[in-house]
Subunit: 203 residues, 2 copies
């Protein structure tokens, strides 16, 4: 297939699409041919929204979430609990927690997890700014809502150590059997944790 | 997840991506967040290549393949056999046939298949222009390389009828067991066709 693109314009667009994660040459070609069949407005919209996004996007100066303004909607909402901060890896996790409608505090977006394998150290993440937020006072609880992986656990532990000097409650989201899961298919560590962290039965 | 995008710019980009076939909201968000982590040049490249593609792309005036010029590379290549025309549904099939390196003639891209279910009739496709090409003379063989579906067969039959008035050989690509396939898993129609259309054994 390599040299058989009938058009350099087509090839450029396919190559650009194929750089996206999970999109190969064939899918890229399918997407580009689909766009060619759409009207110009839709294609223009996709193209220009990407360019604008990259040029104009801001990060909240407080929680480092993606934002259109200097301070994000969540941080500037006076109805939210200003004393609780939920620490998450990325904006996807902010959206996931917001989706539950179970949380009314603020966030702190690290921008990744500590991963020596990928060369990501604490200084590459927004950890100093979290410590600064806590040091300034006013925060009573920090909830660590990171992935249940070795990177997530290492990051949680590092943050826990950095914050232990401050009078703040540090909690971790519960690990356990997912709602809807069968016990027999759960791994031993998760099942063990779910027994250790059992909660009073509520009917 | 609906109303929890922290940024209108982000939401615009996600929505534009999610309009593409096979890309849902979650994948769109993943792609957009990936692009945000890339440097501006790559994002600009994707955005502007799409806008340019849609604005500047041309279709070959002869075979209706996608082209950067009025006449495509294939049609304007003097080394190609000008007497044979392979009729295909779309540019993807041109690229597939080119990929085999087994064909050295020209193409004719219909732009779709006759499909009463989807409201596509012969006049929506480049069939008149094919008849005109044949009527002008110089073409000795038309190879119908359309999908082995009812739409493909209907389109082949329609073209066959339209061209039967002209002194041109009309052939259809072979249907049969795919190379590498087991006989026991082939459907009966394909297996039947492969027996009917058997070819002399070549060692």
């Amino acid at each position: 297939m390599e040299n058989s693109y009938p058009s350099a314009l087509l090839e450029d667009a396919v190559q650009a699409f194929a750089k996206l994660p999970g999109i190969g040459k064939k899918t890229a070609l399918r997407l580009v041919l689909h766009l060619l069949r759409q009207d110009s407005a839709q294609v223009e919209e996709l193209g220009s929204s990407l360019i604008r996004l990259k040029k104009e996007i801001k990060y909240c100066e407080c929680c480092h979430n993606i934002s259109d303004t200097g301070r994000c909607q969540i941080c500037s909402d006076p109805r939210r609990d200003q004393e609780t901060v939920c620490v998450v890896e990325n904006i996807k996790e902010v959206m996931a927690v917001e989706g539950t409608r179970q949380y009314n505090g603020l966030y702190h977006v690290l921008g990744g997890l500590i991963s020596p394998m990928e060369g990501v150290g604490p200084s590459d993440l927004e950890i100093d700014s979290l410590v600064k937020r806590v040091a300034e006072g006013g925060i009573k609880e920090v909830i660590l809502a990171l992935a249940a992986t070795s990177e997530g656990d290492a990051t949680s532990f590092y943050i826990f150590r950095r914050l232990s000097a401050y009078p703040v409650r540090i909690s971790v989201i519960a690990r356990g059997i997912a709602v809807g899961d069968e016990l027999e298919y759960a791994d031993e560590v998760t099942l063990g944790r779910s027994i250790m962290n059992r909660t009073p039965f509520q009917s």
